[in-house]
Amino acid sequence: MREVEGVVLSNCAVAAGIYEMRLLVPDASDVRPGQFLNLSSGEGELLLRRPLGIARHSEDCVTVCYQVKGRGTKALSCRVPGDRLSMLMPLGNGFYVKDSERRIALVGGGVGVFPLLSVAEAYRDREVSAYLGFRNRAAICYEEEFRAVSRLTIGTDDGSVGEKKNAVELFLADYEREKPDVILSCGPPVMLRALKRAIAERGIQAPCYVSLEERMGCGIGACLVCVCDLTNGEHARVCKDGPIFEIGEVEL
C-alpha cells in the first residue's frame, strides 16, 4: 500500500445515482481483485477519505464506482478530468481464487457488483457465472462489461429487467446446474445474511467469501474504527484483515 496522487481521467454517471471515476495513478500493476483504495474527496473540509472498491485496473489506471449518498460522494461527483486526488492504494486482502477452483460464482447486489467485476476480469481463464441484483432498470450498470467476461444473469427488485429475483435467489436457482467451486459475494448486509442462511440450509460445500463494508478512518488497520465481529468472538479490521472474509468466519 502506498500514498499516491491520482489524476481524474473521467468521472461520469453510469446508472441512476452511480458514478464511475477513472484515475491515472503511478502504478496499479499490483492491484488484486477485491482490493480498495481510500480516496480523498478533494474537498478540504472533509477530513476522511472514502474507501471505494476497485472495479477495474490496468498498469496505471484504476476505476472506482460510487453511489452519491452523502457529502463525500457528492463532492467526488463534482470532480472533473484533470483534478488531482490523493489516495492510499491498494488496500485490503482482496479475493484469492485457488488454481483448482475453475468455476467461480459471483453474487452481487447494488453497488456490491463493482468489486466483483475485478474478479471476473482477473480470472478470464475460469468459468465465471455472475448473478447480479439491482433495484430496477435505471440502477443497472456494467452489464456489457460483465457479459464480456462471465455468464451473466441479472435480476431486479421490480422485475423491469430479468427475473424479479435478488442476486441470492438467482444464484440458488442455478446452483445445482452450475455447481461452482467457489462463491464470491459483495452486496448489502441483508443480501450477505440471506446468502449465509441459504448456504447453511442447502448444505452448500463450496467455499464462499464475502466483501464487507464499514465506515473507516485510516483505511490501513491502525485506528480500529472499522471492526467486524468474527464468529470466534474476536474482532477483525475490515480494512486490513478484510474486506474479504470467509462467510462462516464473520457475523453478518
Binding site: 490523493s86 485510516c218 491502525a222 485506528c223 480500529l224 474504527v225 471492526v227
Partner: protein, 303 residues
C-alpha cells in the same frame, strides 16, 4: 537544516512530531507506508491491563473540518503490547509513549508499574470521552486528576509521566496545575471534545455510542488557546495537539508554549501528514533564520 530536536522531561526527540494515540496504532501500519523512525515519537493506542473489545460500530462520523470517533479503547491489553509490539517499536529509534487507561485509580497505578522502565514516556489517558467507566470520569475535576496522577506516579520509578488533559472541563489552568501538583512530569492536551452527529433520515446518532470525540482541523483554534492557557499555568513541559494538519499549524502550538506536538486526525486525511509536517518545520525554520525549533517555544507575544 534547522535543529529539530526537542526535549520532554529528559527524553530527547529527534523532532517535535508525535503520532497521537489512537490514530497510529502501534506504528506498524504506517511503517508500511514510510519509515516511522523519522518521527519524533508515537503515542500508542490506549492500553489497559486486560484486553478491551471497544464499542459497537459505527465508530466514526464526519462534520465540517472535523471527525467524531468512539472506538472505546479497543486494545489487546498491556501484556500483549509488551510481548508483541514493544520490542519491534523499540528498534525504530523514536520516543515510545505508552498511552494508558484504567477503570480505577488502582488500575492506573498497576499499568504504570508494569510499563515503568520499558517505554520512554507514559501518557495517562484520563480524558477518553468514549468509555463508560474510567477515562474521562477522572479527567474532569481537579481533585480526581490529582488522585489518579498521584496513583500513577506511585507506580513509576524511572519513566516520566505525561497527563493528557480533557478539553471538556471548566478550567484548563486549574486542571493543569492539579496534574502538576500531583507529580505529573509533563502534560499533553487536548483530547477530543465530546460531540454528536445525527443521521436525520433515521433520527439517530450516526455513531453507535451516540456521542464521540470531536477532532480535526476544526478544533485547532480552541486547542491552541487551551495549550496557551496550560503552558502559562504550569512549569512542566506541555505537548500540544488538536487539529494540526501542517507545519504552520504545529508552529502555532510551539509558539503558544508546547515543546512538542501530536498529530492525529491528519493521518487519516493524508497518510504522510507527519513526514510532511516534519519537512515543513525544517523549511519554515530555514526560511525564517530559525536555527533550532526549540527557539520557537513560547515565543508568542500577546496583543
Amino acid at each position: 537544516m534547522a535543529d529539530l530536536t526537542t526535549k520532554i522531561c529528559g527524553v530527547t526527540l529527534k523532532n517535535p512530531v508525535i503520532g497521537a494515540s489512537g490514530t497510529v496504532g502501534f506504528g506498524r501500519e504506517y511503517d508500511e507506508i514510510y519509515d516511522i523512525s523519522l518521527l519524533g515519537g508515537i503515542s500508542t493506542k490506549g492500553l489497559t491491563l486486560e484486553p478491551r473489545r471497544g464499542n459497537p460500530v459505527p465508530r466514526i462520523a464526519e462534520g465540517t473540518s472535523v471527525i467524531l470517533n468512539a472506538v472505546g479503547l479497543q486494545n489487546p491489553g498491556v501484556e500483549k503490547f509488551i510481548a508483541n509490539d514493544l520490542p519491534w517499536l523499540k528498534t525504530k529509534g523514536l520516543a515510545v509513549v505508552a498511552n494508558v487507561a484504567g477503570r480505577t485509580v488502582e488500575e492506573y497505578r498497576d499499568i504504570c508499574e508494569r510499563l515503568d522502565g520499558l517505554v520512554d514516556i507514559i501518557e495517562l489517558n484520563i480524558s477518553c470521552p468514549n468509555v463508560k467507566s474510567g477515562g474521562m470520569a477522572f479527567g474532569i475535576r481537579p481533585e480526581s486528576i490529582a488522585a489518579v496522577t498521584r496513583a500513577a506516579k506511585s507506580g513509576l520509578r524511572r519513566t516520566p509521566l505525561m497527563v493528557k488533559l480533557s478539553p471538556n472541563v471548566e478550567s484548563i489552568p486549574v486542571n493543569a496545575r492539579a496534574a502538576e501538583g500531583a507529580g505529573a512530569d509533563c502534560i499533553s492536551l487536548v483530547n477530543t471534545f465530546t460531540g454528536m452527529a445525527i443521521d436525520i433520515e433515521r433520527r439517530r446518532p450516526i455513531i453507535a455510542n451516540n456521542t464521540g470525540g470531536v477532532s480535526g482541523a476544526g478544533i485547532k483554534p480552541i486547542a491552541v488557546r487551551m495549550v496557551y492557557e496550560a503552558a502559562h499555568a504550569v512549569g512542566i513541559p506541555v505537548v500540544g495537539m488538536g487539529g494540526i494538519q501542517t507545519a504552520e499549524d504545529a508552529i502555532e502550538f510551539l509558539m503558544a508554549g508546547a515543546v512538542a506536538v501530536q498529530v492525529g486526525t491528519a493521518n487519516f486525511t493524508d497518510a504522510c501528514a507527519m513526514p510532511k509536517i516534519i519537512a515543513g518545520l525544517n523549511e519554515w525554520c530555514d526560511a525564517h533564520g530559525v536555527k533550532a525549533v526549540s527557539e520557537l517555544v513560547g515565543t508568542l507575544r500577546m496583543n
